[in-house]
């Protein structure tokens, strides 16, 4: 590897060739401001259009200023990152961006968490010298995502996520010049498009142009309605990220405080989606073994691999893009929906209330869950199994709104019966977790032997596509894992082309799985945060006494008292679903 010597702000720096000025500067602790640039190390995600021009620096001997994010260093380069010329240019560029941006910071969903706002502050912008026409667009509200395109600064991060990472292809830059903006085709609303609501555009938007639909108001109203029993479920990935919203270190596990906060918010019962995750394993694992058994018996009708179906964005993705494969994924509903279905039947019966008098709220790392709970097949008499899905961020807002000092809360436990869970349920929140949980149960059910070791390291990690073969006591089971829809597409196309064969595949839409969901606290381009959240979930799993779904006593009880056995008719009715061709 070639070595390059250069100076940055008169400091000698030695880096590998091929390093950008931005990277070289950051290596010696100089943080050149960036806005459009975003790089998620290890996830193979980079947005580098070189468009915002905030990161310009002065390179001796060059006529123009150079963008640090996409200029490679060269031998003997002399760089000045904050000369008068640079600062003037940077501030002017920022003023230009702001001159075409609405001034409604005070009431913007992104206020306080906005890259653009921070940058304006850091650059000390006090006045905008160049005023003029501002672009105005129609606001687009979908079941999960709101687009306020007036606030778009053309950083193109969402476009990169939607096209290169997720290969969904809903968003593209359209028009040109001052009229250019990122939009779906024909400027149609998202809900008319093939959008999966994965929310990765929301996760990376540096302004308030893309945000989740805010449902905190509805939840507050439900909580204050004395005629309603309001119960809440929280997804596994939430507990590994919520703390960040309160200034805690990324990767802090806040399960106990989370329960305490929800209780103080006034929820009548605080439950855990992890319980439903265990239930999912019972159904999906059984379905896998059924299909596998038939396959091994030579049944040509049965289709393998079985694909997981917990992720609503993934479900919508294949309904739009691979409708011919819609009979391959497991018919098991997602944990959120299994929870809702059980809550409004089994648990409502226990309480002796009608389903109409129960409100089920879910706390999710996800924006697609908002869309999922509104799907018609998850309603009975027009009453949805899950009434409102809040993102991790919305929950944080609700906690702040209710004057709760989150960091000072004690650790509390979930309520029963829908609050008990195993380690298998916890790891649903990370890529590889669902399939690992399934393997733990399927192995023991199939082989009738106890697993010698529960940690399947071969299924873990951050690689976009992973493969492993697990030995089911002499029967090699081929497992595939993909996170990020682009990776999922690759895997599916390989299967279609007959290039690869798997027995079971786990697919999660978001890079990293649910820990990197579109509803999580903003990572601001720091992939390290995702890794810390992932590690936290594995820690929680490790600390649990029960780590296999089929050992969850309340799950056993649920089958005994209510469902009968996995894949029973009742289970089928409540816990399974069907998919639609959406082309």
């Amino acid at each position: 590897m070639d070595i390059v010597n250069l100076t940055i702000d008169n400091k000698p720096v030695v880096v590998k060739s091929g390093t950008t000025i931005l990277e070289a500067a950051s290596g010696v602790g100089m943080h050149i401001p960036t806005l459009c640039h975003m790089k998620l190390e290890d996830l193979n995600i980079e947005n580098k259009p070189g468009g915002c021009r905030i990161c310009v620096v002065e390179v001796e001997g060059r006529r123009n200023l150079a963008p640090a994010c996409c200029t490679d260093v060269s031998e003997g380069m002399k760089i000045n990152t904050h000369s008068m010329r640079v600062i003037n240019a940077r501030r002017t560029v920022m003023e230009l961006i702001l001159s075409d941006h609405p001034f409604d910071c005070l009431i913007c969903a992104k206020s306080g968490n906005c890259d653009l706002q921070d940058m304006a502050h850091n650059l000390g912008i006090r006045e905008i010298h160049y005023k003029g026409e501002q672009s105005t667009y129609r606001e687009d509200t979908s079941p999960a995502i709101i687009r306020e395109v007036d606030k778009c600064i053309m950083c193109r991060r969402c476009e990169t996520m939607c096209n290169e990472v997720q290969t969904v292809g809903v968003l593209s830059a359209i028009n040109r010049g001052f009229e250019s903006v990122v939009s779906p085709a024909f400027e149609m609303n998202l809900d008319h498009s093939v959008c999966t609501y994965c929310g990765q555009c929301v996760a990376v938007c540096p302004t308030g142009a893309l945000t989740e639909v805010d449902e905190t108001g509805k939840v507050i109203r439900a909580l204050s309605d004395p005629t309603k029993t309001v119960i809440v479920q929280t997804a596994p990935a939430v507990r590994a990220a919520l703390g960040e919203e309160f200034g805690m270190e990324a990767g802090s596990l806040v399960t106990g405080k989370l329960v305490a906060a929800l209780r103080r918010l006034g929820f009548d019962h605080v439950f855990d989606t992890d319980f439903a995750a265990d239930l999912t394993i019972m159904e999906e694992g059984t379905e896998l073994l059924n299909r596998l058994g038939k396959h091994l018996a030579g049944d040509k009708e049965v289709k393998l691999p079985i694909l997981t179906s917990c992720c609503p964005a993934w479900v919508k993705f294949f309904e739009h893009q691979f409708p011919e494969m819609k009979d391959i994924p497991s018919t098991a509903r997602s944990p959120q929906q299994m929870f809702g279905a059980i809550a409004k039947t089994y648990f409502a019966d226990q309480l002796g209330i009608k389903r109409e008098d129960m409100v089920v709220v879910s706390i999710m790392p996800c924006v697609a869950k908002k869309y999922e709970c509104g799907r018609d097949e998850f309603k009975t008499n027009d009453n949805p199994d899950v009434d409102h899905a809040l993102t991790t961020r919305e929950l944080a807002a609700l906690i702040k709104l209710s004057n709760i000092d989150f960091t000072a809360l004690p650790n509390e436990d979930f309520d029963n019966p829908l609050g008990e869970s195993t380690g298998a349920g916890v790891i649903f929140g990370t890529t590889g977790g669902v399939i690992e949980a399934a393997v733990r149960t399927a192995y023991e059910v199939h082989t009738k032997k106890e697993l010698p070791k529960l940690d399947f390291e071969e299924l873990r990690g951050m690689e976009g596509i992973r493969e492993a073969t697990i030995d089911f006591d002499g029967l090699p089971i081929k497992i595939g894992i993909a996170h990020g829809l682009g990776n999922a597409r690759k895997l599916l196309e390989d299967i279609q082309a007959g290039k690869s064969e798997f027995h079971a595949i786990e697919i999660m839409s978001c890079p990293g799985g649910c820990i990197g969901g579109g509803g999580q606290p903003y990572h601001h381009g720091d992939a390290g945060i995702l890794k810390k959240r992932q590690a936290a979930l594995y820690t929680e799993d490790k600390n649990k006494t029960l780590r296999k779904s089929h050992e969850n006593p309340h799950i056993i009880e649920l089958y005994e008292k209510f469902l009968g056995e996995p894949m029973s008719e009742k289970a089928h009715h409540l816990l399974h679903t069907e998919y639609f061709d959406r082309t």
């Binding site: 809903v170 593209s172 085709a185």
Partner: protein
């Protein structure tokens, strides 16, 4: 946007054009040129077919269509009027000519008259700078056009 149902043979025509270019995504602009030359414009439904044939997203197709001024999603008038706005024409008064067309036809640039007879567009230099300012109606080129000629030019096509 009103939905149009494309005729079966129109869909086939588009498919054939895509096939001519081996359904390659990189041939998108060539495909759009061909289709527009056949259909006159590129409505949303047409772009959807193209996207499907070239295995790309319709947003990308739309992004390309809206980037290049040559492509249009609006059907042109029977007599498309183009006013050259190249510098040579500009300094010789093309703007006044354009304004006169807009005033007479009561449409803006890029629009068609209600009866569909005329549409106005601006061009960047047709290379007939010696005749500036230049206006084209369909294939016909009018040189040294003064605002006072506008009425006459329109009248030539009024009763067609």
């Amino acid at each position: 946007m009103p939905k149009i149902k494309l005729a079966e043979n129109t869909v086939q025509l588009i498919k054939d054009i895509c096939k001519e270019f081996e359904n390659k995504e990189s041939e998108l602009i060539n495909v759009l040129h061909q289709v527009q030359s056949k259909l006159g414009y590129l409505p949303a439904e047409v772009q959807e077919v193209i996207a499907k044939e070239l295995k790309t997203s319709v947003a990308k197709v739309y992004g390309v269509v809206t980037f290049y001024s040559f492509f249009t999603m609006i059907p042109q008038g029977e007599n498309p009027i183009s006013i050259c706005m190249g510098t040579a024409c500009y300094v010789r008064g093309a703007e006044q000519v354009l304004n006169e067309f807009k005033r007479q036809l009561k449409v803006e640039v890029g629009e068609s008259t209600e009866d569909g007879k005329f549409s106005i567009n601006c061009l960047r230099c047709v290379g007939a700078c010696g005749l500036a300012p230049v206006v084209t109606v369909g294939e016909k080129v009018y040189g040294r056009v003064a605002p006072t000629d506008v009425k006459k030019i329109i009248a030539e096509y009024k009763n067609h």
